[in-house]
């Protein structure tokens, strides 16, 4: 089909309302939503899960499924109403004029078809391009998305590429027909931070190069800041604030936006002096929205009689700013510049004695090189953990940072006793436990070392009540003499994690993600755990809930003098709450030190890249731009010498190709700060900070 020319905005969504119809009721997913995307503009759509941001994207694609229907308003693409188009016209537009990139790259590619064929299909179907021309175009686009050896890539199947490469192919496919509008639905959520940074960078460059407009859907404010020109904040099906990035980030005019910014850890935040402020309450379910303002019940500026009056609240223009609008009745009454009311500052518990000590811990796995005839043939050794040595003290938070495959989960398994160590020692109160599997550990040891898991939807047994699960942990840890005592203790544990006692009889599916995570924490503390391994405990939660769960962990730590091993890839939160940080890469500890030491130069080159990769939702922060090439090597086949040498930008500074030959020694930089790198002291001293906060 021919693409028509149009001077106006690419996408105009006007007062859009979308509902889903279930057999019980109509569920309004999006209400009164308006947004305009100008040519070449990138608009970010931000909100928590369930706020309707993905529904908007599906609405634009006119792909709402059998239950969904547009019940009001219009979506105009280049001046034409998408709702009035026939299925055939829509099919023409999808993929050629509007392209969409989804979260899970593997799910967007056909696993049985070669990459080249999938890419060439796009122009061949939409424009009838001859095969040769289509191939040339595919080659061009794959080069554009910075994939190495484009010809080989075109000739391979999706499973032969890594996650980051797959997502690049999905982007390439979206760009094949030179669309006017690109919708990206959380395109980097499934990727590692350093890979994410590279993909975001690519999207930004390509947007400029092709002049494509973008609708960028994300829950990550930092990411939106880095990619978009304008932002639209959504809450419970409505846009609550929209405007340019600068206006919304610096001069926000809606209580929800403000609360959102106050609940994410920014570089200036400190867990004791300036704790995060969680948004109270829970996200309302779509069929249980309050009358009046949806955010009313959780808002600090709530006024009875005004905010909960049963009326639709309109978006208001904010004079003076560029198309900045907010959906709040009290815009002019609230002093937006007022500093955050400080809640009582907490004092940090004194760090006590060494509780846990790792000494040269090694964990190797033997994998049969040949899966079919394993056992007889040669075996390969996967070095999941290499010479791990560190100490953790009482009431200390030690963060373990690294991307997938760095060995942090293996380490957790060895510590918990699910695996035994290959070499080295783990000392818990000076007892060696590295060779004792969990069945042989005594109850006390098991109860002392507990774990909080990552995925709240997976952490509780779906077919057992919350109370029962906690009581079971108490039974196992031999707490309480009889059922009544244990029930009492279980209720007090629910108090500890600030959940109502009625929750004891609920099933996990009746709880929200944050509440489930609290139950998981209560369960971990059932036997008064002294060491808690928290494996990304908040990464799967919504931003507003993250702060509350993080604070809860901190509070319990202060009360119980717990040693917290906080595994995470999110450096913002690590910086906010940890005392010491350990950075891991491919099983090696590449840097270890106090939080200040790790977050300021000299850095290990990998730490430097990680710091640069983490999106920060603060317009006053300037970051040095470091993009790592390539992907994390497989642990099955690590590079010789330094594990990071394949992606290191400092490699050329080390003479004699030493990085490729030898694993660097552990170097003591300052008191308690160690780095595993070949760089000379001089180079280290010349490093500049990655993150600079501009003077205000």
């Amino acid at each position: 089909m021919t693409k028509w020319d149009y001077d106006g905005p690419i996408l105009e969504i006007d007062k859009l309302s979308i509902s889903f119809f279930t057999r019980l009721r109509e569920i309004p997913a999006v209400m009164d939503f308006s947004v305009v995307v100008q040519p070449g503009e990138a608009v970010g759509l931000v909100g928590e899960s369930g706020c309707g941001k993905s529904t908007v994207a599906l609405g634009v694609m006119q792909d709402l499924g059998v239950n969904g229907r547009v019940v009001g308003g219009s979506i105009k693409f280049k001046g034409r109403d998408l709702g009035a188009m026939s299925q055939e016209e829509l099919r023409d537009i999808r993929g050629s004029e509007i392209a969409m990139i989804y979260q899970e790259p593997m799910a967007s590619l056909n696993p049985a078809m070669k990459i080249g064929k999938q890419l060439m299909e796009v122009p061949m179907i939409h424009e009838g391009t001859p095969e040769k021309e289509a191939y040339q175009r595919a080659l061009e686009v794959v080069t554009d998305v910075k994939l190495p050896d484009p010809k080989r890539i075109l000739n391979s199947y999706p499973h032969q590429l890594s996650g980051g490469q797959q997502q690049r192919i999905v982007i390439a496919m979206a760009l094949m027909s030179k669309p006017s509008l690109l919708i990206l639905d959380e395109p980097t959520t499934a990727l590692d931070v350093t890979v994410e940074a590279a993909v975001v960078d690519l999207v930004k460059d390509l947007g400029k190069k092709y002049g494509t407009s973008m609708l960028f859907i994300s829950h990550n404010l930092g990411l939106v800041l880095e990619t978009c020109d304008r932002i639209c904040v959504m809450y419970s099906g409505e846009a609550v604030e929209t405007g340019s990035i600068e206006d919304v980030f610096d001069k926000m005019q809606h209580p929800y936006t403000q609360a959102l910014f106050r609940s994410i850890p920014l570089p200036g935040a400190d867990k004791n002096a300036r704790p995060l402020k969680a948004i109270p309450g829970n996200f309302p379910l779509p069929h249980e929205r309050p009358p009046g303002c949806n955010f009313g019940p959780r808002c600090d500026y709530f006024v009875d009689g005004l905010c909960n009056k049963d009326q639709a609240i309109k978006m208001q223009d904010i004079p003076g700013n560029d198309r900045h609008r907010s959906r709040c009745l009290r815009i002019n009454e609230i002093d937006w510049a007022a500093p955050m009311a400080l809640e009582d500052t907490k004092t940090k518990g004194a760090i006590g004695d060494v509780v846990l000590k790792m000494d040269n811990l090694k964990k190797y796995y033997e994998v049969a090189a040949n899966a079919l005839f394993g056992g007889s043939g040669a075996t390969k050794v996967v070095k999941a953990n290499e010479t791990l040595s560190f100490e953790a003290r009482e009431s200390e938070t030690l963060a373990i940072v690294g991307e997938s495959g760095c060995g942090k989960s293996t380490f957790a398994k060895v510590l918990m006793g699910l695996e035994t160590a290959t070499e080295g020692k783990i000392l818990l109160d000076n007892h060696e436990i590295q060779d004792t599997p969990i069945e042989k550990r005594d109850t006390k040891t098991v109860a002392d070392v507990q774990m909080v898991f990552q995925n709240p939807f997976d952490t509780l047994n779906p077919s057992m009540t919350v109370g029962r699960q906690i009581i079971r942990a108490l039974e196992i840890f031999k707490v309480g003499k009889n059922e009544a005592e244990r029930r009492e203790r279980m209720l007090s544990l629910l108090d500890l994690v600030k959940l109502p006692r009625e929750f004891a009889d609920r099933m996990p599916r009746q709880l929200s993600g944050g509440q489930k995570q609290r139950v998981g924490i209560a369960r971990a503390f059932a036997g008064d755990a002294r060491i808690v391994v928290a494996d990304e405990p908040v990464s799967a939660l919504d931003v507003s809930v993250q702060a509350a769960v993080t604070d809860l962990l901190m509070e319990i730590q202060r009360e119980h003098k717990t040693t917290l091993l906080f595994i995470s890839h999110d450096l913002s939160i690590v910086r906010y709450l940890s005392d010491r940080v350990m950075v891991m890469y491919l099983g090696h500890v590449v840097e270890l030190g106090t939080t200040e030491q790790v977050f300021s130069p000299p850095y290990h080159p990998y730490t430097e890249a990680l710091l640069s990769a983490v999106p920060i939702a603060d317009t006053s922060v300037e970051k040095e731009h470091i993009v790592l090439e390539g992907d994390i090597p497989s642990a099955m086949n690590p590079p010789p010498g330094c594990p990071f040498q394949t992606r290191c930008r400092w490699k050329s500074k080390v003479p004699g190709g030493l990085c490729e030959k030898e694993v660097p020694p552990v170097r003591q930089m300052a008191d308690g700060h160690q780095v595993k790198c070949h760089l000379s002291d001089e180079e280290f001293n010349n490093m500049t900070p990655v993150i600079k906060i501009a003077a205000e």
Binding site: M416, V449, Q450, T459, K478
Partner: protein, 397 residues
């Protein structure tokens, strides 16, 4: 008396089934009234397909029960009435006595027995055997499938190989072997029963022990009580005076299962359990990677607790669906066994045997073979529809 017309026959059959209709209507009214509180069972009443399936299944269950209670059956299913041989449906009984039902509603078979009564009585045999045999197959499959999936490795390889071996064996041949007098003489079916029927005991024993071992004061009496009762039932079931397996004296033997039925049980369980094993193993492989399993491991739970209390309850969805489907297969299998005259006594009114008898004169007299065939078809169809409905509803929100 005059022969009945087709309209009259249908009306009379309808009236004869009155207890079934009342029970069905009651069940549906109550279920629909409380469907929001009944979980998955309640959700079934949102799906037309599921409701039809459930109605068909419950029709035969109620008919079977009331038939056994002698509320529906018009004549003794084994009694032969002279002059009624191969008579068409609606033929009046010559010289019917006082209080005796006057007609053969669906005609008589080649031994002059009432086809209608035989079909109803046959339902009771199916309704009894099929679910129980399937339940036994599930016990065996679950008890072996969980450890295979959970532990993996050599155990998994061995058990999976065994399952494949059994699945590769021709089913009909196996049945013929099991009922051959020479084989019965050696006691193989009885030993197999001894082996297969011990699994429910193992299953329940481990289930309770893994859950309550932290409270020995409660656990020990509970286990003694439950296992004691189950053990007695088990021994009564397998032991028979004069057979190869004779472990308890006759006066303690609660009931005797006729040798033929036992063989049917054994073969059905033996053939079905490998498939259940595979399903459970696959589910266990999937569910063992969940965080709540890891949480149980890190608090030092034993493997059997994890398998039976953390993994199994969360595999229930697919298992319930498969259970329904498998009762259907078992029903067909029972039909097949009866058809070949295996296991059940020759005069047995079960559907398979009746179809086989009717088959011989099929081109002349259609009516003796058709009713049992339709009954078998409708029950299996009902079970399949029910399974479909359950699957559909369990996937929906």
């Amino acid at each position: 008396m005059d022969p009945l017309s087709w309209g009259e026959i249908l009306t009379r059959i309808f009236l004869q089934l009155t207890p079934t209709w009342i029970a069905l209507v009651l069940l549906f009214v109550v279920s629909v009234m409380f469907k929001r509180k009944l979980g998955l069972y309640g959700k079934l009443f949102d799906s037309t397909v599921g409701m039809i399936g459930f109605a068909l299944v419950m029709f035969w269950v109620f008919t079977g029960i009331f038939g056994a209670l002698d509320l529906i059956v018009t004549h003794d299913p084994l009694a032969q009435v002279s002059g009624m041989k191969n008579k068409v449906p609606g033929t009046p009984l010559a010289g019917a006595e006082e209080g005796e039902y006057g007609w053969y509603l669906l005609g008589g078979d080649n031994l002059a027995r009432d086809v209608f009564s035989r079909v109803i009585t046959g339902a009771w045999i199916v309704v009894q055997i099929a679910p129980i045999a399937t339940a036994f197959a599930f016990m065996v499959g679950i008890t072996l499938g969980l450890p295979a999936g959970y532990y993996g490795g050599k155990l998994d390889t061995f058990l999976s190989f065994l399952a494949n071996l059994i699945l590769a064996f021709p089913v009909i041949l196996l049945f013929y072997l099991l009922v051959t007098p020479e084989i019965v003489e050696t006691g193989i079916p009885a030993y197999m029963a001894t082996f297969l029927f011990v699994f429910p005991l193992i299953f329940v024993g481990i289930l309770l022990n893994s859950r309550y071992y932290t409270q020995p004061n409660f656990r020990t009496p509970l286990l003694i009580g439950v296992l004691g009762v189950m053990g007695w039932l088990y021994l009564s079931l397998i032991s028979e005076v004069g057979s190869k397996v004779h472990v308890i004296p006759g006066f303690m033997d609660l009931f005797d299962i006729p040798g033929g039925i036992l063989v049917v049980f054994v073969s059905v369980v033996f053939v079905n359990s490998p498939t259940v094993f595979r399903i459970v193993r696959g589910l266990a492989l999937d569910i063992k990677t969940r965080d709540y399993v890891a949480a149980a491991q890190t608090r030092g739970e034993g493997p059997w607790y994890i398998m039976l209390w953390e993994i199994l309850p969360n595999a229930r969805g697919p298992l319930i669906v498969d259970f329904c489907l498998r009762i259907g297969y078992t029903t067909i299998l029972l039909g097949t066994l009866g058809f070949f005259g295996l296991g059940l006594p020759p005069e047995s009114p079960d559907w398979g045997s009746t179809i086989n008898e009717g088959r011989k004169f099929l081109s002349i007299y259609l009516h003796p073979a058709l009713p049992p065939a339709l009954a078998l078809l409708s029950l299996v169809l009902g079970l399949n529809l029910l399974a479909d409905g359950l699957r559909e509803e369990s996937l929906r929100d």
